[in-house]
């Protein structure tokens, strides 16, 4: 069964390779891309069903036993991440197949998306911290290329900020890796976990903590946390909307995933200051939402919201009870779908009204009520309104803060909700309710109407995650319990060695 774990890396790699080969034939390339992501999504479902059965799946790549070779591991968290990533990439690709924007034409688009997917899958599955670094590089390079796909000046400017700050983060990651390897002589995360527990007992954990802090900074940059989020609002509004949707669904979430692994597996215990994480989470939540409330551009608003929502997730990670981790995981899943859909809807709407600047938009509620309803579902979900997915996510986070009696965190979470609602409504009023400033503008969808399909699909998932959230939340809870007790993970990776 261990070969199953290599498929989430191999399938995108193969799709990307064949995509490059088929660059001269747009239609062939599209079918390859769609087939590739469909297979990936199917693997995602198979993977999660196997993990639900067996708790952990491992694969020692090349047959080299851990900790000497590289191990691929899937626990429930990895499986959930793979599944949701598959869902959003599937929808984005479906959407971009139906778009008439240039990025749909660029022969590099589909291969790059699959490369990005490969990097993300690798990050979710790898049990080796250096391999995680490599996966980050794959993602960084492919996302940089995706960002500059249309070659607009604005895109290049955003992309430069993006790549410079992320390279800094990579350098910090690498410094941490060097320090850690010098101290513990291992790169396997399960092995490091064992050694760092030993170090805690020996009171020699200091240097390991310093390495952990370097990782923390690096992952915080990737996750878009305060005060490291600058690259995100600088760049996310520049590429074509499907690319923005893809980034919002994958990039920051991989950073958050790495933070979870760091906090629960690699450096368990009080290695990372709990108060530090909590404070940064709350600051991220508040500053992100302030940023969102003060923007007047659709995708800038949405970009700042990503940051704000990361804050909620980080709070869940910091509290670190099974319930808090479960709500963080559920939040990630919800956010991948809701936020991704908002970017897609925003793209569709701005194509029709001709601008993303709020004072130049309007008239969509009358022209396209279906799109309005889909927007409302996604936006109210993001603002945490029942019975949508965001409600389950926010409710469980609030519950976790109450259980731990963190009143100020709870107050911040609630306060943030109000401003989230405000900025979501701002888009609604300006794009949908208000009349279009140019009364003669033709607001027909034309061929765009086919793009309602992927966004409706995502809206359906949002409702499903809200109304049928019980089973998924139970799975998240099991994932949370796995994370709190890393012994099972370590056992699965290291086997008889320990």
């Amino acid at each position: 069964m261990s070969n199953l774990l290599t498929l989430p890396l191999l399938v995108p790699l193969i799709s990307a390779t064949f995509g490059i080969l088929a660059r001269q034939h747009a239609n062939v390339q599209r079918w390859i891309s769609l087939a590739g992501i469909s297979v990936y999504l199917a693997i995602g479902f198979i993977l999660i069903s196997h993990v639900l059965d067996q708790s952990y799946l491992t694969a020692q790549v090349g047959g080299w036993q851990a900790p000497y070779g590289i191990t691929l591991v899937a626990d429930l968290l990895s499986a959930i991440m793979i599944l949701f990533t598959g869902l959003i990439v599937f929808s984005v690709l479906l959407y971009s197949l139906m778009t008439s924007k240039p990025c749909g034409f660029s022969p590099a688009f589909h291969p790059l998306v699959h490369f990005l997917l490969m990097g993300a899958s690798g990050a979710f599955l790898t049990g080796d911290i250096f391999n995680l670094y490599v996966c980050f590089e794959i993602m960084l390079m492919s996302s940089f290329a995706l960002m500059t796909l249309e070659g607009k000046a604005e895109q290049t400017e955003g992309a430069v900020k993006y790549v410079v700050l992320n390279l800094l983060s990579s350098a910090i990651f690498l410094a941490g890796l060097g320090l850690l390897y010098a101290k513990v002589g291992s790169l396997n995360m399960a092995d490091i976990s064992v050694i760092s527990q030993q170090a805690v007992a020996d009171e020699k954990v200091g240097p390991i903590r310093l390495a952990g802090l370097l990782f923390f900074v690096s992952f915080s940059v990737k996750a878009g946390m305060f005060p490291f989020f600058f690259w995100l609002p600088a760049s996310y509004h520049t590429p074509s909307p499907p690319v923005s949707a893809l980034f919002s669904g994958i990039l920051t979430k991989v950073g958050v995933y790495a933070l979870i692994r760091l906090h629960t597996l690699v450096m368990p215990g009080e290695v990372l200051g709990y108060k530090l994480l909590l404070t940064m989470g709350v600051a991220t939540m508040l500053i992100g939402v302030f940023g969102a409330a003060s923007q007047m551009h659709i995708r800038r608003i949405l970009s700042f919201h990503i940051i704000s929502q990361i804050g909620y997730i980080v709070v869940g990670i910091a509290i670190k009870t099974p319930l808090a981790l479960a709500s963080a995981i559920f939040f990630i899943g919800h956010n991948i779908i809701s936020k991704g859909n908002l970017f897609l809807v925003a793209g569709l709407a701005s194509d029709i009204v001709g601008s993303e600047k709020l004072h130049k938009t309007g008239g969509m509620w009358k022209a396209w009520p279906q799109l309005g309803i889909i927007y409302l579902i996604s936006a109210f979900s993001l603002a945490g309104f029942p019975p949508l997915s965001g409600f389950v996510a926010k409710f469980s986070i609030v519950w976790a803060t109450v259980e731990s009696q963190l009143w100020w965190v709870m107050a911040a979470a609630i306060f943030t909700g109000l401003f989230t609602l405000y900025s979501m409504m701002k888009i609604w009023v300006e794009v949908f309710w208000k009349d279009h400033p140019d009364p003669d503008r033709d607001l027909t969808l034309g061929k765009n109407s086919r793009r309602l399909m992927p966004v409706s699909l995502l809206a359906g998932i949002i409702i499903f995650l809200g109304l049928g959230g019980g089973p998924l939340f139970d799975i998240c809870l099991r994932a949370g319990e796995q994370l709190v007790n890393p012994a099972g993970y370590i056992q699965a990776v290291l086997g008889e060695i320990t």
Partner: protein, 757 residues
């Protein structure tokens, strides 16, 4: 099962609404109205079940781990509310059919109204508090969309926005309150919830519940959103903003009464805030000239009375509250509908412009009279009975309160006069020409609901036995007898005084208008607070996200270094100088070469010297590798350096010659550089000693040849032990090539034979 029908019917109808309207036109709303009447019948059946002590329940799991289950419990108080919701709902739907006519939006509006009705029924019948919250928020959403029905009008959009924001403050507070309640008690069903006034969280829960109730029920300081919400079409105002949704806050307080009312703050807080709301209403009413706005202000006053009665909390007060709730629904909804009919007929709602409509719209004005008499509290209407009870309950609390209540009752009389007498019998205005009587589907609801109020007043015993008493029993208090005639009591005197004073205020309203001070509008204050917070947020964002990459990099580096140093001081990470004593001459010269060339790079003003500096730095690194006896690394580094210098020179040949500004040493940047160097030095020194062995690297050394069949350990690691990393790096390079291709424009065109779709 029948309890489920109460939800299934409106939700199915709601989804079907856009299609139903397309099929049946305005008859669709009439059909809906018929279904709602059936639901009202169901509610009456359920009431019978509940009054014999076996309320119907329905329960299934939603997210059990979060306490969330769909648990409905049809107890008498909930059903009492449900009856109001369904009966008035049926009237409103029938009214809407003609009011909106063939307006294409009617289908959607009917859909949202039905969704609202289902969620409102959810609020009143939910037993699970999370379900209560879910329904509560759904009423806010549907109210938002419904207020914004006339979305082309900026006023409607602003009113909708304010309403949603204010009610969301309450919604979010309620979220906090229910989580606290649930975690504190471990119970999620209202029917099983113990009194918790002694719990340390009781005060917080109480504050949050109050925020929720006050914002939903438009109490001071949140009372301003309700007049703004009058931008909605009148049937919506009648239904949501007088008869049902705004009562959700009152309902919540009533539900919390058994759980929290023993808390010391319960009575003073509720009475204080309701009194403040009453004062605002009393001051606002003489200034209002718009029919709907008059009614909206008086609704705030009525809700304040209910909150006040719950605050007093005696069984008698709760009885009075229940009766008044019923009376208010029976007179306020018809009055709104009357206002809507007038607006529909003459397109004007200003009392200074209206008059003389009694001849043209006799039945409309008849309904206005019936409802108006009840509002003014004149026998034999239910409004009279309610007023007597309120005065009696108020007196049991404090004399100042009863004075205030009497003045409020006076204001109600004045509103009733303004709304009924001016349009009906005022001097004929030019508008009369246009006026026409409304069709029956609009008249019937207002007449019938008004007559229900009259019938209730006449058959008080029946109301008491079947509605009020069971309802208050399910709130956990004793029923008190109702009576239309209590004899010549103080309350009768006060009540009559209020009627007289109200009449006087009505006739002298021009004089009053001048005396009454102008209140700072709550809406303006709300706006100011929001704008302050927003502009704070905006300046904060501008400082943080200022667009300068230099500042982003600087911040990231400084924070990182600060964190590392802070942690380094905190944790035990020894730096052992003993390990760095043996510096050879070769190492020293390599180090000096690196330092000199990096300075040269930093201060270079042309590209070529900068590249040369970089190359020299790389050579210094190569030297280090040689000194450390790593020839293969040295070789690799050497090749890489040469290649990159060559490539850079070739690339830069195509660029215009760059002459930088004379380098100024900026102290900020100097600090950042020094800090970075210092941090990396500390980290390197910390890294010098290995503590937990070199198990893995030893294993590589041992097994490279034996198992990997290669004499070069590094090679075996790269292509075998850690081949996945190498695959990844190869992928990175391919992506880079692809990206460069994109940037250079080489991949831009694609030859597609047919036009891409």
């Amino acid at each position: 099962m029948s309890i489920a029908l109460l939800f299934i019917i409106p939700i199915v109808l709601s989804v079907a609404s856009p299609f139903g309207f397309r099929l049946l036109g305005k008859n669709w709303s009439k059909l809906v109205s018929f279904f709602i009447l059936i639901m009202a019948g169901l509610v009456i059946l359920l009431l019978d079940l509940a009054s014999i002590g076996s309320p119907q329940t329905l329960s299934f799991d939603w997210i059990p781990r979060l306490g969330l289950s769909v648990t409905l419990r049809a107890d008498s108080f909930g059903l009492f509310m449900a009856l109001i919701i369904t009966v008035i709902g049926a009237g409103v739907f029938s009214y809407t059919s003609e009011y909106m006519g063939d307006d294409p939006r009617t289908g959607t509006i009917t859909g949202w109204l039905l969704l609202f009705m289902a969620s409102m029924l959810g609020v009143v019948l939910a037993d699970n508090i999370v379900l209560l919250f879910v329904s509560w928020e759904l009423t806010s959403i549907s109210s938002y969309i419904l207020i914004g029905t006339n979305n082309h009008d900026p006023k409607a959009r602003a009113g909708a926005k304010t309403a949603l924001l204010v009610t969301s403050i309450g919604g979010l507070s309620l979220l906090g309150a229910i989580v606290l309640l649930g975690v504190a008690t471990g119970v999620w069903n209202l029917s099983e919830m113990p009194a918790i006034h002694n719990h340390p969280w009781a005060a917080s829960i109480f504050i949050l519940v109050c925020l929720a109730a006050f914002s939903k029920s438009a109490q001071w300081p949140f009372c301003f959103w309700l007049p703004g919400a009058m931008a909605a079409p009148t049937p919506i105002s009648a239904y949501l903003h007088s008869a049902t949704m705004v009562k959700a806050g009152v309902f919540l307080l009533a539900r919390m009464h058994p759980i929290l009312s023993e808390h010391a703050a319960w009575t003073p807080v509720l009475v204080f805030f309701s009194a403040a709301s009453m004062i605002v209403v009393i001051i606002s009413i003489p200034k209002a000239t718009d029919l709907k706005s008059l009614l909206a202000h008086s609704t705030v006053g009525a809700l304040a009375l209910m909150v006040c009665l719950i605050g007093i909390g005696t069984p008698y007060a709760l009885n009075a509250m229940t009766v008044f709730l019923l009376a208010h629904a029976c007179y306020k909804a018809p009055l709104f509908l009357v206002a809507g009919s007038i607006d529909h007929a003459v397109h004007n709602r200003d009392i200074n412009a209206l008059g003389g409509l009694a001849k043209k719209m006799p039945y409309t004005m008849l309904s206005a009279c019936i409802a108006g008499i009840s509002m003014a509290g004149i026998p034999p209407m239910l409004g009279f009975a309610a007023k007597e009870m309120i005065l009696e309950a108020g007196l049991s609390y404090a004399p100042w309160l009863i004075t205030l209540i009497t003045i409020l009752a006076t204001a109600f009389v004045m509103v009733a006069c303004c709304v009924v007498l001016i349009p009906a019998f005022g001097k004929n205005s030019c508008l009369v020409e246009k006026a026409h009587e409304s069709p029956w589907s609009m008249l019937a609801p207002m007449l019938l609901i008004g007559i229900i109020g009259l019938a209730c007043g006449l058959r008080l015993e029946m109301i008491e036995n079947h509605l009020v008493s069971p309802a208050v029993i399910s709130l956990g208090v004793k029923p008190a007898g109702l009576g239309l005639w209590h004899g010549f009591t103080l309350y009768l005197a006060l009540s009559s005084l209020a009627v007289l004073a109200g009449w006087l205020a009505y006739t002298q309203r021009q004089a009053l208008y001048k005396i009454i001070p102008v209140l700072p509008s709550g809406a303006v204050i709300h706006e100011v607070i929001w704008n302050t917070v927003l502009s704070f947020g905006r300046s904060l964002t501008q400082i943080i996200q200022n667009g300068s990459l230099t500042s982003y990099l600087g911040t990231t580096i400084i924070v990182t270094c600060a964190l590392i140093f802070y942690a380094w001081v905190q944790v035990d990470a020894p730096v052992r100088p003993s390990l760095v004593q043996k510096i050879t001459l070769a190492e020293l010269s390599a180090g000096l070469l690196i330092m000199a060339s990096s300075l040269a790079t930093a201060f270079a003003r042309k590209r070529l010297p900068a590249i040369a500096g970089l190359g020299a730095m790389g050579m210094g690194m190569t030297l280090f590798f040689i000194v450390s006896q790593a020839p293969d690394l040295a070789l690799t580094q050497f090749l890489v350096e040469i290649l990159s210098v060559v490539l850079l020179v070739v690339a830069f040949r195509h660029l215009p010659d760059f002459v930088g500004e004379p380098i100024k040493i900026q102290s900020g940047r100097l600090i950042i550089s020094a800090l970075t160097g210092l941090t990396m030095m500390v980290l390197t020194l910390v890294a010098l000693s290995t503590e937990y062995g070199d198990r893995v690297s030893l294993w590589y050394g041992l097994n490279a040849l034996r198992q990997g069949h290669g004499a070069n350990v590094v090679n075996v690691i790269l292509v075998d032990f850690r081949a996945l990393d190498t695959l990844g790096e190869i992928t990175v390079l391919s992506i880079a090539a692809l990206g460069v291709g994109v940037l250079m424009g080489g991949l831009k065109q694609i030859k597609t034979k047919k036009e891409p779709t």
